[in-house]
Subunit: 345 residues, 4 copies
């Protein structure tokens, strides 16, 4: 099955290439980059030499639909809202890695993203592609809104406790930390090596565009309207997200009881690993892989649950989950092409 | 004035050397390291070649008291509780950079540190050396318990809001991140380069020994008994601490109003810089210097205040604050020897 | 085919696990670690949770031979010289990743490694496992001495030019740089994070134990006795080796002509990528993969050829090449299990 | 004495601010940045808050000459060749940190820098500001061409051996490695964090613009025309240069004899530290300081001398040496304002 990539020169896109290359049923099809059309892919990314050397192409919906069965869009926000409609109209399945189809409310999109939203007609067709939570909807959907990286780690870390009656909804604090690849390949002073190396930076306090996405899903799943305090930090490393999540508990429970709740919740999910009591995951332990590892600790002194949820932002937070969703759509084992052991050290 | 160093081969100690070297009234005296006595200081630390080449010595209270006017103890916990008494008895002033004299309660020390506590007689003589908060006590004290690195950033970040009636005491969450030098020069797998580089690690969930110290001071200053949720993380960089602090507010206030509270609170303190609204400090912006920079943001959606407090863990979190305290003790300008501009980039 | 691992807790060993896991014909068999026998593999390496959880075992030649068809030894030098003989005697194939069987001369081993050498009888059975150069010998050998990491990058970079009459033999300078994982997981001050992070260190000037190995192969292949100047450096990153190699040329040739010599030399080797003129490889462009990428430049001003040869020290420099050799031994496509695209960024 | 800074927003400039701030006889005067005139210095560099908050200004030769006694130019190449003449004509001393006045030959400048050279009249007035080698000329010069960072480390490392009859001139290979701050604050993909972190990159093979500068000085000082092989590498760290230098010896000498030659050569130079035999400097051991540390090793097997020369590229390689030159010009102790102990770790 040929898979096209749009936004071919970003980091999300080259991770897709890595997984498609080792996937038994997928093959790299058209690679679109309007800004660098005609240039060979491996001229831009020499690590792909002798592997994917094909030239980049311009966007052409007809040709894309003709030559590919599926399209991955790894474009900046505000782009796929315009590119997805002509593709869906031509009957091709779309996996959108941007935020353009994640929020049900067009108004909310506009207020957080500062772009015009996608057309309501297409917004309604989108399924939020959090693989572990919505596998059935994903199977039958032609438009997958692949979740944000912070959102994936946050929601997977919070849902099991929210589904009980134990959590105080208004107490949720998410302190999120990310490696720098999360902000892409576009040049900016923030991503300039000498500025962020040996540095730790908080950014977008209370203003990150993943906030409404997290609140939408948490509210859907828990019943109550949920508002979170959410702060993002840039850590001087390439990959990895850690969300340290704090939730006040209504009753006294032990770490062990919470551990059971989580283990039960994710018992059929091969990519979620709940760490045993006393063991907390670090980001490197999922590097390059599609795992989300979760550690749990109840602080008896304050009756607050601390959840440490880690993913590789480019894999479970982007390309890996996109492949997992394609596997679900096609009825393949969801692990297909994703069996990599984390790269350690 | 000759200043002795005990625990001479740790990172805290070589920062003391750096500041003493540029201090007009202090001079490096005896340097004690029982494990490496006889070896030249610059053989262990070649960056000190031609600057401080003198041999390390063994601990001898009489000789120390004879040849020095002040002693800095930069030893692991459980050591200075035994070394300080003979020094105090000989009339020499002590600045202890370890945790041995920070907690008033010997029981609490034992339960968090898992060592025998210091003798009550000496515990009572200790002054908690948070320079901005206790300058008067410091001036007249012969035993300064220099604050912990996390404690310094946390307490300085929290006190101004706690001194108002705006904060909900039971809502405090401190998500603390540190560079790796904070865990010293002792070898461990956690500090092995390939294990922590390109990695982010949470550790000691709810169990860090700085918790009782922070709660002691916050409770003293606010009136109410305060318990905090406190989580520590290791960031792949050498220096720097960031405490991201979350406090629920009882009333609706603006970031600007909080900014005024903080600016007023610290208006006479040269090493505290309150950042203007919309500007958040990063750890590199205080690297190598004695500054504590604080950024503030009120999230109107959740009525929670986020405080970002950064220091260099080895400077304001250790050696720099120790020098600042000696300056206060001696009636010198508190900036003496500490005027370094942060090293950037 | 079951493959045992000896020295199971080192970095070389977990890379072997990663490749065996994605290899269609190999399976992880016994994992030996005398020091940690009985402990679960994933307790030591949590990134292996739910993947390889089996307990570590003690060394037992009979049981190893019974339950496995092949043994990888990833032990410190001086260990496999003692463990390999009983295994070979029991008819099991051995791939030794240490230096114990690389040098033909027992004396030279002793003088560079400061250990007793292996028994001559077994030394003679060893084949130097540089896959691209000795594929035929590897096919028929039961004991592969897998090349050193620096040696692999150096020899692959030098051989094509040495096989011509263009190089001045006595002019060879190899300036080698490695990521820190190359020095293993054993604790030492050199590998302590705060010491090597933001630092660049030269070490073992003219004394690295890979020197005799490189000279042995270069001399074998070129005819003349070759002595090299070889300096190693530690770079603050986890993985990657770059050898910058300088060779004086006897005649005037262009970069383009040298490029043709190299391309021709390696035309059948899928893991060697000769970069086009003007393009020089960086270490990240082979990260996690079995590639050796080579860039070439003739400096017309000095008539000296500069060769930039890069590998991942744990892959082509250790575990990956070991798997490649097993593929050759068994008549499988040499790329089997090794098709990973480099992890970028 | 007021010192103006031109090119005020680069890294060289903020290092100048750091040293001027701790210099007893210098004071920050006008800070020029045409692109950001009117903006406060500490808005661009928040680490300067409360220290240097003054607004940036546009270039105006009259005003500069009126209000300052000295001007530091830390501008990209091709700029100071135009700015220096009007300043010199107004009688103000200039320290140029760019390459515009380093090469005597205007033709050579044009061929390596691809810019128009400075006017010959002003070129002739320039003194090459390598403090240890040309102190007398520096004292009487109004225009100092401050050496390049690579050049400083290379020339200081090579001169003592070249001044003997021991070195084979045509054998010199310099393998140079630099932290990323060396390429400045301008945005480029090469300096994008995720591209260079965990990566090692060779660049400008045989084409770096410091080559003619090094050759000019080495040839001047040794008598013979000298051509070097020179390769530069980017190391994933902020600061530090290491030049690993290889020289074939004409006679057999010991490391100890070479050590004596170097110690003698630099015996009156406080910033040059020749390491004892067996001890090799690493870049962190000079971090933030004006030292150049040199390690030496004669490889008896190849009769080649290896010299490891390290500096902080922004200090001895730029701002620190500039201050040292101003000290020399004014007859002050050359260490004035430069006594910082390296920042370790």
């Amino acid at each position: 099955m040929k898979a096209a990539l749009i936004g071919g020169t970003g980091y999300g896109s080259i991770e897709l290439v890595r997984f498609i290359n080792q996937h038994p049923y997928l093959e790299v099809g058209t690679v679109v980059s309007n800004s660098q059309a005609g240039v060979g892919f491996s001229e831009i990314y020499p690590h792909l030499s002798n592997i994917v050397d094909q030239p980049l192409e311009t966007f052409n919906a007809d040709r894309l639909a003709e030559e590919n069965e599926i399209v991955f869009l790894a474009t900046p926000s505000g782009v796929s809202s315009r590119l997805v409609p002509p593709l869906l109209d031509r009957g091709i399945k779309c996996i959108d890695l941007s935020g353009d189809f994640r929020l049900r409310s067009a108004d909310e999109y506009e207020s957080w993203y500062k772009h015009s939203p996608a057309d309501e007609k297409y917004l309604k067709q989108a399924t939020y592609g959090l693989s572990e939570i919505y596998p059935e909807k994903i199977k039958t959907s032609s438009l997958i809104a692949n979740p944000g990286c912070y959102s994936t780690a946050s929601i997977l870390g919070l849902l099991p406790i929210l589904k009980t009656n134990l959590a105080e909804y208004e107490s949720i604090v998410i302190d999120a930390k990310s490696g720098v690849s999360g902000s892409g390949r576009g040049l900016s002073l923030t991503n300039h090596f000498a500025e962020i190396n040996e540095n730790l930076k908080a950014y977008k306090l209370g203003a990150h565009q993943h906030i409404p996405e997290i609140e939408q899903i948490l509210s859907d799943e828990s019943g109550g309207p949920i508002k979170i305090s959410f702060t993002t930090h840039l850590v001087p490393m390439n990959r990895g997200i850690m969300c340290s999540i704090y939730v006040k508990l209504k009753e006294t429970v032990t770490t062990n009881e919470v551990h059971q709740i989580y283990s039960e919740f994710y018992k059929i999910n091969p990519f979620i690993r709940i760490r045993p009591e006393g063991n907390v995951p670090s980001t490197k332990e999922v590097l390059g892989s599609n795992y989300c590892d979760i550690g749990l600790h109840v602080d008896q002194r304050t009756n607050r649950l601390t959840i440490i949820s880690v993913i590789d932002n480019l894999v479970k937070g982007a390309a890996g989950q996109a492949i997992q969703n394609v596997n679900l759509q096609n009825g393949w084992d969801e692990r297909t092409g994703l069996i990599d052991i984390p790269l350690y050290p």
